[in-house]
Amino acid sequence: MSIVLEAQNINKYFEKPTRFQVLKDINFTIEKGEFVSIMGKSGCGKSTLLYILSTMDTEYEGRLLLNNEVISGQSGEKLSYIRNKHIGFVFQFHYLLADFTVLENIMLPAKKLGEKTLEAIEKDAYDKLKLLKIDHLALKKASQVSGGEKQRVAIARALINNPSIIMGDEPTGNLDSNNADNVFTIFRELCDKQHLSLLIVTHDEDFAKRTDRIILMEDGTIKK
């Protein structure tokens, strides 16, 4: 099995209000097709770690490898490209562009990538919508769909460029158990059928138990 994501000796400090170490010597790997969850007490540094892994936060010590390539220390331009092509991100709060339709929201990362024609992108977007069973919402304004639906739109958007890994920061934290279950099923299927790698931060014990592996964090370190 090939390694998709590898963190080597990640340390992270916050300077304000006083200097303190949030992440202490984090080391782990995620293999292709693995569904991994991160758990831990509130404030132990899960989100901070995820922002670093997603390349949005660049102020850390240590090395980060994506598909065996070092991405630490790359230029902002390059990191944007990596985020665009290789990383799908799903937030706790369904982060959609409110002024755009569901379809446009989903197409946007692919348009930015610019590898396919507009027709091909639109077809891809519809495929993802169908996969998530929300194709009937395609032309609705993003601000006019429900929370659970928004989360599925966000997942569809994360999938559009067929990324190497999907990261989620409590993607089900804001959903009722029914919807949360739904999202889990979707993730599970993506993992099983399309060999997608997933790294999901969650507080939901049931959710975590059904993943392939749980990374437990405590005070900025990995327990197991």
């Binding site: 922002y51 937030f91 348009k111 930015k112």
Partner: protein, 420 residues
């Protein structure tokens, strides 16, 4: 590498969803550019009119024989006093003729010069208009009517009759309107004039002349060269003034100097004679541009404000865009293109507004005695102003958009996402 179609769609969507603010920002530009176009068209229109008023009638070089004291007094020739400073009291001008010596060869010489558009001879004579027992002092200028019409727009100042009529009539006179009014005579009537020596001549009025300067119109009249020569009892080579029009007015000064030197005559160039005139033009242009730039700066602050507001409102969008792979530069370009779209749309509307307004002004009647040929307010529809206007709009919106866009570029998505 920037993916412009995507950037522009996002920019457009933002603008359309915030159509009210967008419109206000664009209207600011429209107003600034519209005012600039109107102002500059009107001001330069007026300038050109005033320039023409001056330039049409005024020769670029006026050559005549000035009665003045000899510059070099005889004592300067006396070697023995070379090291001392002579003081001479009561210098009197030298006795000389009013006529230009060898005027006809000089005219030929000037007309052959490639820089000269034309040189025309004139004779200035003091006369009296005789009305019953009253004598009114005046000036009679002998001219070549057709040449004057061609070079100095004489026709614009003939309000009745024509230059041809004067040319065709040996005893014709083109009478100043002020004189005609005083003497209550009309075109076709006969009047009598007398020379200083006392000779009386009857002349027929073939037209009325109005320069717009009433003091001048109350004394000035024109007749043919030959007629005046006959009245004065002078020969055909008697010419007192030569007026020169050049192809390029800038050459007036060096040429006047050359003529003075070469022919020992007085030659006054246009700029020396009308120094205050250039200043007026400069000041008017200065005012126009100062007002326009002020308006555009105000509009620029409007755009700056609105873009800043838009960026605060779209903070989440910016974070999402960055999270899904748009670079800081992309985001900057989104907001820059919004500024430029506002600038372009506002600018084009401003050009239209400016054109409409200046067109409207150009139809307003504007009649004044001083300008017999002008019927409506003068407007200069110079395409350059429209070019400058749109460049102005784009440049000012570029600067207004630059700082907000720079700020959007630097927004840290993690901070926004955490803040949620």
């Amino acid at each position: 590498m920037i993916n412009w179609p995507v950037i522009l769609t996002i920019a457009k969507t933002h603008l359309v969803t915030k159509i009210k603010q967008t419109s206000v920002a664009a209207l600011g530009v429209t107003f600034g550019i519209g005012a600039y176009i109107t102002l500059v068209s009107f001001m330069t229109g007026l300038n050109t009119m005033l320039d023409n008023l001056m330039m049409n009638q005024t020769p670029h070089i006026h050559i005549y024989n000035e009665i003045e004291p000899t510059k070099e007094q005889p004592i300067a020739l006396y070697d023995q006093l070379a090291n001392s400073t002579p003081i001479i009291h009561s210098i009197k001008p030298k006795l000389s003729q009013k006529k230009i010596h060898n005027a006809l060869p000089l005219l030929n010489y000037l007309n052959e010069d490639v820089h000269v558009k034309g040189a025309v001879p004139q004779i200035k004579a003091q006369i009296f208009y005789i009305a019953g027992s009253i004598e009114i002092a005046g000036n009679l200028t002998g001219i070549h009517a057709l040449e004057e019409a061609k070079l100095f727009h004489l026709k614009d100042y003939i309000i009745e009759g024509s230059a041809e009529a004067l040319n065709n009539n040996e005893n014709g006179i083109l009478l100043g309107v002020g004189v005609a009014k005083k003497m209550s005579v009309h075109v076709g009537d006969r009047i009598q004039i007398s020379t200083i020596k006392g000779d009386v001549f009857p002349l027929r009025i073939v037209g009325l002349y109005q320069s717009g300067i009433s003091d001048l119109d109350a004394i000035q009249s024109f007749s043919n060269l030959k007629t005046v020569q006959r009245i004065l009892g002078e020969a055909a080579n008697y010419i007192t003034d030569i007026n020169v029009k050049l192809n390029d007015v800038e050459l007036a000064f060096p040429m006047a100097k050359k003529i003075e030197h070469q022919f020992e005559l007085k030659a006054i160039d246009f700029n020396t004679a009308n120094a205050q005139f250039e200043t007026g033009t400069t000041v008017r242009n200065l005012i126009t541009y100062a007002v326009s730039i002020t308006l555009l700066i105000v509009a620029g602050f409007g755009i700056y404000n609105i873009l800043n507001m838009l960026i605060y409102e779209k903070m989440n969008d910016i974070a999402i865009l960055k999270a899904i792979g748009f670079s800081g530069k992309d985001v900057q370009m989104i907001f820059m293109s919004q500024a430029m779209i506002i600038g372009f749309v506002g600018g084009v509307l401003g050009l239209l507004l400016g054109f409409g307004l200046s067109h409207f002004i150009s139809t307003i009647p504007f009649e004044t005695e001083a300008l017999p040929t002008v019927k409506t307010y003068p407007i200069n529809f110079n395409p350059w102003f429209y070019g400058i206007g749109i460049v102005f709009a784009l440049v000012s919106t570029f600067f207004a958009g630059y700082l907000p866009a720079q700020k959007a570029k630097k927004i840290d998505p993690v901070k926004i996402i955490r803040g949620q």
